[in-house]
Assembly symmetry: C2
Homo-oligomer: 172 residues x 2
DNA sequence: ACCCAGTTGTTGACATGTCACTGAAACCGC
DNA sequence: GCGGTTTCAGTGACATGTCAACAACTGGGT
């Protein structure tokens, strides 16, 4: 590790582009979401994950693992969302420690109202700007990186590291 | 805009992969950076941008624009970095309002110590996992999205929007 | 010369996220 | 059943980011 291999021009361009896109896309999507639906991106993600679940409810740590959030962060955020009436906490029947997060009718209404506009924004600012080949490539490439980062042990000489904030399985 | 065009399977895969990668890559890079160099990613970005500049110094708003940060955020962050001795503020000769941010020797030393490891981490967790074609595609695709988001007026029926936190030019 | 709209950077209040810690409950070998 | 360990969720202190308001200053029109 003595002679650092710097990024060549092409790699530099990809890396800078990625970070710039990341920032701008985030700003814009968050802006539209807040304006059109009164939700933040974290709000949206919580509601979205909950609404995709059969019973509209999930164990707190299950939800945290799916979102790659720490339990603490989720707990704080749920407290705020609960105060706005978007979700509720219920006791968990099978585990006395646990709590179950459930979508309220208002929460369901909020996500259903927000989703079409949000998807449209994702299309407008990202997906529809790409060729089908690029969409395919982006899917392949991101999943490879995700697999690498969630592999139980570094695949090739990496220091073995777990990266998820809590004890998430190698969920993809 | 009545019938929402949802994402098809391939698009969904790309979008989810992107967000997951984003999160995991961030966590891992931030973790290594903090551990190996005692810097946060924002710290690194500030130092990096400053060190790339001819005179190791930049007007505050110039720096904010390059980083796509609000002046407020940068000002707060500089206060913290200043207390750690990484940067200093100087008065601007040509503009009585302005201030110039400059790298201190300690700041220069910090970025020089951090850079090789950080670049190695970017390689290990992203760049070296991609084929040359994918690197090329990622560069092309991200720059297209960035251009779209920074275009002065929405290129195709978009509501005209500026997305940068302050008055950034369409800098790439 | 002077006014004044706009820009620059800072600040304080607040929203959000992280970290270390805690009590309660589950798990597990005995 | 019992004691030690682990996991679950919540909490408070703190770090970071956002937003609106502000004072100092610039620069252009008159």
């Amino acid at each position: 590790m003595e002679a650092p291999r710097w990024l060549d021009e092409r790699e530099e361009r990809a890396w800078r582009g990625y970070r710039r896109m990341r920032r701008l896309l985030d700003l814009e999507l968050a802006r539209e979401l807040a304006q059109d639906a009164g939700l933040s991106e974290p709000d949206y993600d919580v509601l979205s994950d909950l609404s995709e679940t059969p019973d509209q409810r999930l164990r707190l740590s299950e939800l945290a693992d799916r979102m790659l959030w720490s339990r603490s962060r989720l707990s704080h955020h749920l407290t705020r969302m609960q105060q706005r009436g978007l979700v509720t906490r219920e006791e968990c029947a099978s585990d006395g420690r646990g709590s179950v997060v459930a979508l309220t009718p208002a929460g369901r209404q909020a996500i259903e109202a927000a989703a079409p506009g949000h998807v449209a924004a994702v299309r407008r600012h990202l997906i529809d700007l790409l060729t089908p080949e690029e969409v395919e490539a982006l899917g392949a490439l991101t999943h490879r990186v995700v697999d690498h980062l969630t592999a139980p042990i570094g695949p090739a000489g990496d220091p073995p590291r777990r990266v998820a904030p809590t004890s998430a399985g190698p969920e993809v």
